[in-house]
Symmetry: D4
Subunit: 148 residues, 8 copies
C-alpha cells in the first residue's frame, strides 16, 4: 500500500481528479484542510481571538502544521501542486520539507513555471503536467502497468 | 561559533548588510551562488549544452543543490529572505528543508507578505523585517547583549 | 488515525474530558499510569523493597519510564497538562522529550503560568486553556471541522 | 575535549563554581543567557513591541531557543540545576530534550526535591548535590582521577 | 512477519522460485517492475517523449526509483541477485543502498563472480548460490527449522 | 500492544515462564532460535560445509543475526537473561545493541552476577531476579496493575 | 571546506587529474586503497592465510570496508568513476551507499554506459564525462566561478 | 584522522602495545578508565557512600558510562579486547553498542573463545589475535601499507 500526501493549490479540483482516477489502486491519500476559511481561522476559532492579524494567522498556521507534518511524515510519496495563481510558498515549503525527509516527490505544474521551479523540480522524481499523469505514475509504481 | 546559511533573494544587498553588521561576532556565513547568470547556466557551462530549456535548467539546479544542501546541513541557523519580487519558491523550499532538519529558522520579509508566508513563519523562531534585526539576533544569541 | 499521548497532571479529570469529548474521532489515546500510589510504589512492589527512599523512588520511576517512552515515541501528538498545584517537572520533562523527537506538542495550562511556561509554550503548536479546546483541535486536524 | 551545557537556575553562582573548579580540564562550557531581564525582553527589544504579554514572552522564548537548542545539540554532557525557588519548568524541559537526544545528563539538586524530580533523575547518569561534585565528575571522566 | 525485497536480475525465474518455495511462510515479497520494456519506457510513456536517449532513460529511472526506494525502505531483508549476464550496476547500487540503511542483506550469485563481488558480499549476512537456499534461510529465520 | 524480545540464556524454561505468565496481556514476544544445534549449524546446513570451524560458526552466526536484528529493531522492550553458566557474550552484545537503539532494557539475572553485570545493569530500566517479576513489570506497564 | 570521496576505477589516473586540477581549492580528498594487490591481500597479509579463496577475499574486503565506510560517511560529495573495463560492482555499491546516506553524488562515466547506469545516474546530482568536469563542478560549488 | 576506542580487558598491557605500535600514524585513541579501583568506586567517592553494594556499583557504572558513551559515539573504529579471564560482559556490551551505531568493529581475542564469541565476531570487520595485528590494520587503513 502506498501513502500519498497531496500538497499545494486548493482552488481547483486536482485532488478529486487524482483520487477518482486512482480508484481501485492500493493507495491511501492525505491532504491538508482545503476549506480556505477554516484553514485561515482555525487558530482563533478554537483558541480565542487575536486583535493582531499576524498572530491570528500564526495560531492557525500552527494548528494546520499538526496535520501537515503528520501527513508528510507518514507518506511514501508527496505530490506538490503549483497552480496558476498566488505565491504558494507553503507548497514549496512542503516540497522542501518532504525532500529533506527523503520522501519521493512528484511536482505537478505547468511549463510556464519551469524556470521558477527548477530548484524544486531538481529534488523531484517526476514533474507532471496533468493530474492524470500522477495517476498513471501511481498505477505504474503499484502495478507495473503503463497507460495503453 | 555559529554557522549561518543565508538563503533566498539575490537582487538586493541584504547579505552584505548582515555580514558587515556581524563583523566581530563568532559567526561563519554560507550562501548560495548569488551570480544570477552563473547560477542559471552552471549546468550546461560545465557538463555540456542542452537544446531543451527544461534540462538546461535542471542540470544547473542539480549542481547548485550540491552547494545548497551542504550549506543547510552544516548550518546552526538558516536565514531565509523573501524579497518584494519574483515567486522565490526556492527560498520557501530551503525553509522547508531546513525546518525538517531541525535547524533554527529566521525569516526575513516585509509585512505585506505575512499572510502568504504564514505557514513558513510558523516554522520559524524569528520573523525579522530588516537585516539589522537579524544581526541583533545573532549578537544576542552569541553574547547575550541587546541593542542599546 | 491519530495517536495522542496525554502527559502531566493526574489529580483532575482532564483526560476523561478529552477522551469523552473525542468519541467518534479516529484517535487512539495513551497515558501514564494515573494511579498515584501505584506509580510511586511500582518499583519496590515488583522488584523488592529499598530502605532508602531515593532508590525506592528511582526503581519506580524507571519502570514508569518504560510506559512513558513508548507512549511518547508512538504518538503523533503529545498533550501536556500543567495543573494548578505541584511542581510537575515530569510534565515539563515529557514536553522537552517530545519536542526533541519532533512530535506535535499541545500545552494545556492556565494563563497565570504563561510566564513560567514560556519556553515550553515556545516549542508547542498550540496552547490551550480548556480540555474542550484540545478536543476541538483534534477534531479540526482530523476532519477539518471547526466548532460551530 | 568535553562539551558541557549548563542549564537551569540563574539566581546563584553555581555556573561560576563549576567553570572555576574545572579550570585546567579539557572542557568547553555553554550556557543560556543568564541576564534575566535580557532573556525576558530580547524578543521585543529586537523585533518590536507586543502589547500582549503572552506574545511578548513568546517572541523572547523563541529567540532564546536558538541558543539553547544549539547548546544542547552540541553538548556531550548536559548539567541541569534545579534551585530552591521558582517552578523551573524550562530546566525540566531541557532535561527531557537532552535525554531524548541521548546526551549524558547530570542533575544538580537538593534532597528535598528528590521525590518531585524522580522521573528526571531516572534519566540521569548522576544526581549531584553540590557544584563541586559536578566538577569531580568531569575531572574523573576526563582524567580518571578521583577526589583525594 | 518478514518483509523481503527481491532486487536484481530480471531475465530468469529466480523470484518465482523463491516466492513459490516460501509459500506458507509469513513473508511478504516486494520487487521492482520486472517487465523490461515497461521499466525502460515508463518515463516517456507517462510524462512525454524525450528526443535525447539519456533523458528518456533518466525519466524512467526516476519513476522506477519511487518503487525501489519504498521497497527497500520497508524491507527487513533485501535479496540481491546477480545473474550471469549484463553489468547489473543497479543490483549493486541497491545492495549498497540497503547496506547503508542497515537492512539484512542476502546476495544470490554464482562462484565465478565471487572475486568481483567481494565488497558486496562483505556487507551481506549470507551469500547463496541457489534460490532454494534463500528459501531455506527465510524458513529458518522465521521458524527455526533447518532443511531435512 | 507491547513488542518484547527475549534475549539470552537458552538452557532453562524462563521464556516459557514469561510467555505463560503474560497470557491475556497485549504483548507479542520474539526470541532467537533456541534450538542449540540448529542455531550452531544453520549456516553450513543451508549454505554448505566449511572445513574450518571458525567459518562454520561464522556462517551460522550471520544467519542468526537476520532474526536477532529484526527482533531487537521491532521491540519496545528487550529482556536479556543471564543464566548461571557459560559466558553468554551474545546476551551482553544484544543488551548493548538494544541500549544503543534506545530500547527499554530489562535484565534478568541473579545477585551473584551483580558486580560483573554492573555496566549492563546501568543501561537497564529494571533488573529482575525472577521471570515472574518480568511478567509483573509487563502487566504494570500495560494495565497499571500491581501484584496483589 | 568540502570533503570529497573518490570511489571506483583504480586503473587510470583519474584521481590524480582531479586532485591536481583542484589544487588551490578548499577541498580534502579521500580514496580507497588503490594498490590493487594490497587491496586484494590485506586480509590474509595481516590476519593470516586462508586456504579458501572466498574467505581470502572476504577478510580483505572487510578490512577495506573500514576505510571505505569512513571515507563515505565523512564526505560531502562522493564521486564514483566507472571505467571501461571490469564489472565494478563495488563502485555501484558505493554509489548506493552514498545515496542512502544523502551524500551529493557525482558519477563519472562514458556515454556508452548511460543505459546500464541509468538507475545510478538517477541518484546523482551530476553525470560527468571527464575528470576536468568534476574539477569544474568543485570549483563552481566552492567559488561560484564557471570555466572561462 | 582516525578515532579509535579501545574497549575491554584492563589487566594486560594490550592498549600500550597498540598505542606504542601506532606511533606516527594519524590516530587518536580513547579508552575507559583502566584503574580498576577508581572505576569501581568513582560513584561513591564523588557522590557519597551507599550501604548497599548494588547501588555502590550502580552509581559508579553510571558515571563510567559518561566516558564510555562519548568514546564510542566519537569513534570511527572500536576495538574490543576479550582477555583470558573474567566474564567481560561490559566488553560484549560495548561491542553491541558500537555495532548498533554502525561503527567499524575489530575484535581482539584468542581462538579458544571463537565459539563463544561467534555472534560478536559476526558483527566485526576483523578478528585479530594479537595487538600488533590491530596496529597493522590501522596502518593499512590509513596508509595502504601492508606489513613487510
Amino acid at each position: 500500500m502506498l501513502k500519498v500526501y497531496l500538497s499545494g493549490e486548493i482552488h481547483t479540483d486536482w485532488r478529486e481528479q487524482i483520487t477518482t482516477g486512482a480508484e481501485g489502486l492500493d493507495v491511501e491519500f492525505f491532504s491538508p484542510v482545503t476549506d480556505h476559511d477554516a484553514s485561515d481561522d482555525c487558530g482563533v476559532a478554537i483558541l480565542g481571538d487575536e486583535p493582531n492579524k499576524y498572530w491570528h494567522d500564526h495560531k492557525g498556521a500552527m494548528i494546520n502544521a499538526i496535520r501537515t507534518r503528520k501527513g508528510i511524515a507518514d507518506a511514501d510519496v508527496v505530490v506538490v501542486r503549483f497552480g496558476e495563481k498566488y505565491r504558494q510558498w507553503n507548497a514549496a515549503f512542503d516540497a522542501g520539507y518532504a525532500a529533506a525527509l527523503g520522501k519521493s516527490l512528484i511536482v505537478l505544474q505547468q511549463p510556464d513555471h519551469d524556470h521558477a521551479l527548477k530548484e524544486v523540480d531538481a529534488a523531484a522524481l517526476a514533474v507532471a503536467r496533468e493530474p492524470s499523469q500522477v495517476v498513471e505514475i501511481l498505477r505504474y509504481v503499484l502495478t507495473g502497468t503503463l497507460p495503453s
